[in-house]
Amino acid sequence: MIEVKKLTLKYPSGKGVFELDFSVKKGEVMGYLGPNGAGKTTTIRALLGFMHPNSGSCTIGGLDCSSKAPEIQKTLGYIPGEIAFLDDMNGNEFLRFMHDMRGTKDTDRQKQLIEMFELDPKGKIKKFSKGMKQKLGIITAFMHNPDVLILDEPTSGLDPLMQNRFVELILREKAKGKTILMSSHIFEEVEKTCDNVLIIKDGRIVKESDVQTLKNSQRKGFTIKPADIASASQLLQNAGFEVCNTADDAIEVFVTGENIDRFIKAAAQFTILNFDVKTQSLEDIFMQFYGREGK
């Protein structure tokens, strides 16, 4: 549904995105992750046709993002990373305006979404809190029932309850076969909603993986307090494990999923006084990529 091929979009400052290659299939939820300034919003600008790329191409539903933007917009929902609405409108006026501009037929879905996110769209948008503006942005992006959704940090400013509602919404849309590209900094949200993730750093994609594989590559850390630290270290090292001495009387070993059994059997050979498991979260895995190549 979304196809990005060798996309390069450079800014005069030399920053930008370079040679991006990825695709999001119909019905797929793709997480788009990376540190600030990595190029997430730049990629989204190219997808929405706000900026024409220097080279390469991107298409949505087979339509070129630069030249066919108005047509793409018929079936696209977008939440900008930095939401600014038209000044001096109240929430209802704005929703009606977007409704009319899009030529949408009915307002049922709009009403459902307003209920779901408990938004009171009466007052002036200028006076809305950040969370309320974000809710209005979400409703605007989903209310015309688009097939493709491009969401730039969709839950920033939302309280945890509303973040959960949002996750529910995404899962429901996914079940309907919608295609979603979502940038986020909230790992829990990504873990719950995304099938696949892309990690971008300094304008280049450094990792593309499905969330399940990424989770399998999670390493577990075992902190062991053996009776005899020297012989225990020796035994584990001989078995091919990486051993770090964290304290005088304890060692830490990192083990990936498939080596757990071997590790337990190796550890059974010496006396253990205490034993602790530290699970590396998805967040820790992302952090590895965030930090890498930067230096």
Binding site: G49, F50, P70, A84, D87, F97, M101
Partner: protein, 265 residues
């Protein structure tokens, strides 16, 4: 053209138009009420007390005796450039650059409307509002004159005067609009969109003040015609056509530049 957008733009900007219409109506009424058909001599002699260069810079002519030329000189020589210019600068910047600068433009593009369509709508509003302003001022002029000095105003000449003044102000509108489309930042849009029309106005004043600097007036868009001459029957179709051409060229350039450019939204 998107009528939904046009309606919204009108709703957002009609107060601005009303303010300028109000101020200019006030000036128009005061100016007409100050006209004294029997005592133009007194006014002329009072004018003689001021340095003639200053009078010329303001485009005030001491040769006028009839109401229509009097308005052409006193009202349409400077005020009908200066005030609408401020309106054009504010509106031109508001319609595009300000919305791009504060990112709210993103919502116009989040609809199945092309950039070209949106910009044409904004530009049409800009021009239509100037047209409306001058049509209304023409009406006010005719009404107030017929109330205070029945049958004194040469309506046909006053109409031609308003038409050309409207066209020159539309050129100014399109200058501001063009820079609003060209730049993504309000700072630059306002810098050029205000700077160039102000420069033209100053050139017009300097050119009027001294014979040596007359070339400046000729180069200023405001100096292409003389309001008093229009009232006296001078044909300015050539000038009108130049203005119309300038409006169309600037409008087209604004659309083309906006269609291609990178929007930091």
């Amino acid at each position: 053209m998107s009528f939904t957008l046009l309606k919204t733009v009108l709703k957002k900007n009609w107060t601005l138009l009303l303010i300028f219409f109000g101020v200019l109506t006030m000036y128009m009424t005061i100016m007409i009420s100050m006209y004294n058909p029997n005592d133009m001599e007194a006014l002329t002699s009072m004018l003689k007390m001021f340095p003639p260069e200053l009078m010329k810079a303001m485009s005030f002519s001491d040769m006028v005796t009839d109401l229509t030329s009097y308005l052409a000189s006193w009202l349409y020589g400077l005020l009908m450039f200066g005030f609408p210019m401020v309106y054009c600068i504010i509106l031109g910047n508001r319609l595009v650059a300000k919305m791009v600068d504060n990112s709210s433009f993103v919502y116009l593009l989040s609809t199945p409307n092309s950039r070209v369509r949106i910009i044409i709508t904004q530009g049409v509003y800009a021009l239509a509002s100037v047209a409306l302003l001058f049509a209304a001022l023409f009406g006010v002029g005719v009404l107030v004159s017929s109330f205070m000095f029945p049958n004194t105003l040469d309506i046909s000449a006053f109409f031609r005067l308003n038409l050309t003044t409207m066209l020159v102000n539309m050129v100014v509108m399109m200058i501001s609009f063009f820079f609003s489309c060209l730049f993504n930042e309000t700072k630059l849009s306002l810098g050029f969109g205000a700077g160039i029309p102000i420069a033209f106005l100053i050139m017009n004043m300097l050119g009027g003040a001294s014979a040596d600097a007359e070339i400046l007036k000729k180069l200023s868009i405001y100096g292409f015609y003389d309001g008093v001459e229009i009232v006296r029957g001078a044909k300015v179709w050539g000038v009108n056509l130049v203005y119309i051409a300038a409006i169309m060229i600037l409008f087209t350039a604004a659309v083309l530049v906006f269609r291609k450019k990178r929007l930091p939204l």
